[in-house]
């Protein structure tokens, strides 16, 4: 096509740096404004929102983190379930949860409305922390301590699914979190160890 009007398969002749039509400029402007909204929501949520993946983050030797977890278990252990220690730390405590193929250690008993610092790390490979049924997800990386301040807002019986492929037993890796109500009672116990 020798004309000015051409398809994307033709070489444009002469200078093609020309002003765009009004409607095209309109759409670019609207799209740009929307992109700014998309962007602004993130700092806004850090300021006003209640769910942010910020956390306290530091490197840690996997073995040291596991040792810290065991110390934490010794301090607050209240029982054992399916061979996994059950721990009930006081409100405000630092909680240590270690992921290893194919377990989450320990089982946690928390209190509704209390804030904890939940430290996540892995002993061996990457794992994925997925709190069921809330659908809250974090990556658990060996060598890194992810300390998230969490406040359970409802009591109940929760599970931790591993949702990062960690080996052939990946689909058997389920942990447990029990959130007691304000007066320390279990509610809606749906099952448990199998």
């Amino acid at each position: 096509m020798a004309s000015e009007t051409h398809t994307g398969l033709d070489s444009p002749k002469g200078v093609w740096w020309k002003p765009a039509h009004r409607t095209e400029r309109l759409w670019v402007g609207i799209a740009f404004a929307w992109c700014l909204v998309l962007f602004a929501m993130m700092p806004f949520w850090h300021w006003k929102g209640g769910q942010n993946p910020s956390g306290i983050r530091r490197r840690v030797e996997p073995a040291k983190f596991f040792a810290r977890t065991q110390e934490f278990i010794k301090q607050y252990q209240v029982g054992t379930e399916s061979g996994i220690p059950v721990v009930e730390p006081p409100p405000g405590a630092d909680i240590y949860l270690t992921a290893l193929t194919y377990q989450w250690i320990p089982v946690l008993r928390l209190r509704k409305g209390a804030e904890y610092t939940l430290h996540l790390s892995a002993l061996d490979v990457n794992h994925g922390f997925s709190l069921f049924p809330l659908n809250v997800n974090f990556q658990v990386v060996p060598g890194y301590d992810y300390g998230l301040r969490v406040t359970p807002t409802e009591a109940g019986d929760f599970r931790i699914i591993c949702n990062e492929f960690c080996g052939i037993g990946h689909h058997t890796m389920v942990g447990r979190v029990i959130v007691l109500d304000e007066s320390g009672n279990e509610v809606g116990r749906s099952g448990g160890a199998q």
Partner: protein, 576 residues
């Protein structure tokens, strides 16, 4: 070596025999990879459908790795190599520079790909396509990927050499066409991507040999510098094909070269930041880094896609209106060549990429919203809408034109070819939406058994999840069936197809896309018509009012989906 050319019977372009041969072999290997990936896909969906649960655990994870590599890396990249050669030779009437080097590069890529496939099937690389350390594969697996990448880098180098030589030999006048410009964008991003690839796979190779240490988080960051940038290659190549198919099927015009080209440049500028949206809930990086990077510094790459999302359909609308087809808002769409599989594939690729892939992608790539998404089925739900319903479908549409143009064959099983894009699109809509919904219940991706029968604690998903996984399987099987139809059409056309008949008659011929038998030619006075359509006659909505209405609907859907997700996020525990 002097190049041997033939003239294209349809477009009159000069085609170099060596370029043509390289395009062919890359396309063929691409289709073979698609076949392997699609067979794996069928077995995967039939396993995730918990009521069927076909594969044993080890083979599920193994074939998941095979599917990821065969599809995302081999199918897509071999096809892109063909696109790069096509855009730098055929579109410019130019010759292939150093064809021997081109063959050597192709050979390297094939050797690398075969090594990777063999090791995966042998169970020596059960690490999925991301191969996050400390999970470790056989050293030759990493070496195979390195060989493949070196080959790809050489082809990209030849692409640039072709452009330089074409310019010097004045094989075309003016600037390169927009389609080639899009391919240039893809090629530049490919260089950035492959450098990231070298930065991660060479250390991973050494690590697998026990020669160095590897930090799990740094690997994830650099790996996604490769993994996500490569998706931007796909987007750039796909958009280039959108412009190409628009031109071939409905005479789509370029609204404004400046706007479309600047949008391509935005892809290049902001691409290296994209690895962030895979790391939003990782411990290694802080929030400031996450916010700046996941937004590609304020969503500039998203802006670019939203621009193409307007200019591509608007160009098509204008292409129709300029030829006097349609006056109302949507007549141009109604009276479009829906029976041309190149056109149907184009439309579905644009719509599904934008409405499903784009909206979900930007939303789940938001720092905080990622908390309710990461590693759930929402993630494969999203990217099958971008790279499969978007890129793969666009490539399929392009193939229906490449078969007659490059292979000089009729498209076999023409009736089947005409419905193939429809089936693929329907399947993908069901598949991606069901996975997305299942994911919002927290169903994990990459997971063999969500009944958790061997887990220490019981866990039961809502019964809705069973239904959604069944729908996922049905959608997936429809799409896979369509992929097999496509493969059969491509293979039979190329190897056993009938030679292309004379196309100058101007009447439709079964087996030849309409855009070739009845090319959408513009009248000699097209410039005057164009000026008129850009004038006051069209009212405030301008030359492409139908498109403006459609992008309005798109924006409304986007806004609703985005804020619904914030609302859902606000219901979970307080986390900070």
């Amino acid at each position: 070596m002097t190049a041997v050319f033939r003239a294209c019977p349809v477009t009159g372009r000069k085609i170099d025999a060596q370029a043509e041969a390289l395009i062919r072999v890359n396309a063929v290997v691409s289709i073979v990879s698609l076949l392997i990936g699609a067979i794996a896909a069928v077995l995967l969906v039939l396993t995730r459908w918990q009521a069927v649960h076909l594969l044993p655990a080890d083979w599920f994870y193994r074939l998941l790795g095979v599917h990821g590599m065969s599809m995302l890396i081999f199918f897509i990249l071999f096809f892109e190599m063909a696109v790069l050669i096509f855009a730098s030779t055929v579109l410019l009437n130019a010759r292939q520079v150093a064809p021997k080097v081109g063959w050597a590069a192709f050979g390297l890529m094939v050797v690398g790909a075969v090594m990777v496939e063999v090791l995966m099937f042998a169970g020596k690389a059960d690490v999925l396509f991301t191969s996050y350390p400390p999970l470790k594969a056989h050293p030759l697996y990493y070496l195979g990927i390195i060989l493949f990448a070196v080959g790809a880098l050489i082809v990209v180098g030849l692409f640039f050499a072709n452009l330089v030589v074409a310019k010097r030999e004045r094989t075309y006048e003016g600037s390169v066409p927009l389609v080639t410009f899009g391919a240039v964008t893809a090629a530049i991003i490919a260089v950035i991507t492959l450098l990231h690839g070298a930065a991660i796979y060479i250390p991973a190779f050494l690590w697998s040999l026990g020669l160095m240490n590897m930090d799990a988080q740094i690997y994830r960051m650099v790996w996604w510098g490769l993994g996500h940038s490569s998706q931007q290659i796909n987007v750039a190549a796909m958009v280039a094909i959108w412009y190409m198919l628009g031109g071939l099927t409905v005479g789509a015009v370029v609204l404004n070269e400046k706007v479309s080209r600047v949008a391509f440049v935005l892809y290049i500028l902001f691409i290296s930041m994209a690895s962030a949206h895979h790391l939003l809930v990782d411990p290694g990086m802080g929030s400031a880094w996450k916010v700046v990077n996941t937004s590609y510094f304020m969503y500039m790459a998203v802006l670019a896609s939203m621009i193409h999302g307007f200019t591509v359909p608007a160009g098509m609308e204008l292409g129709q209106r300029l030829r006097g087809i349609g006056t109302g808002l949507f007549d141009w769409l109604k009276r479009a060549p829906w029976g041309d599989p190149g056109f149907a594939a184009l439309v579905f690729s644009v719509v599904l990429f934008g409405f499903i892939g784009g909206i979900t992608g930007v939303t789940i790539g938001t720092e905080q919203i990622n908390i309710i998404v990461h590693n759930t089925l929402r993630v494969p739900g999203h990217f099958h809408a971008t790279v499969v319903a978007g890129t793969a479908l666009a490539f399929m549409g392009a193939t229906y034109y490449l078969i007659p143009l490059i292979f000089r064959k009729k498209v076999a099983f023409w009736g089947m070819a005409r419905i193939q894009p429809y089936l693929f699109a329907i399947g993908m809509v069901i598949f991606t939406m069901s996975m997305t919904f299942a994911g919002s219940f927290g169903v994990p991706r990459r997971h063999w058994d969500i009944s958790f029968s061997q887990a220490p604690f019981d866990l039961q998903f809502s019964p809705a999840v069973d239904l959604l996984l069944a729908l996922t399987a049905i959608g997936g099987l429809l799409a896979a069936t369509s992929a097999f139809m496509f493969i059969a059409i491509a293979v039979v056309s190329v190897f056993f197809g009938q030679p292309l008949p004379d196309l100058s008659g101007g009447y439709p011929i079964a087996g030849v896309p309409l855009g070739l038998t009845n090319p959408p030619r513009h009248a000699p006075d097209v410039d005057a018509r164009n000026a008129e359509l850009h004038g006051p006659k069209m009212g405030w909505m301008g030359p492409a009012p139908g498109t403006l209405a459609l992008v309005g609907v798109f924006l409304a859907a986007f806004i609703v989906y985005f804020f619904v997700n914030w609302k859902v996020l606000s219901f979970v525990w307080k986390i900070g």
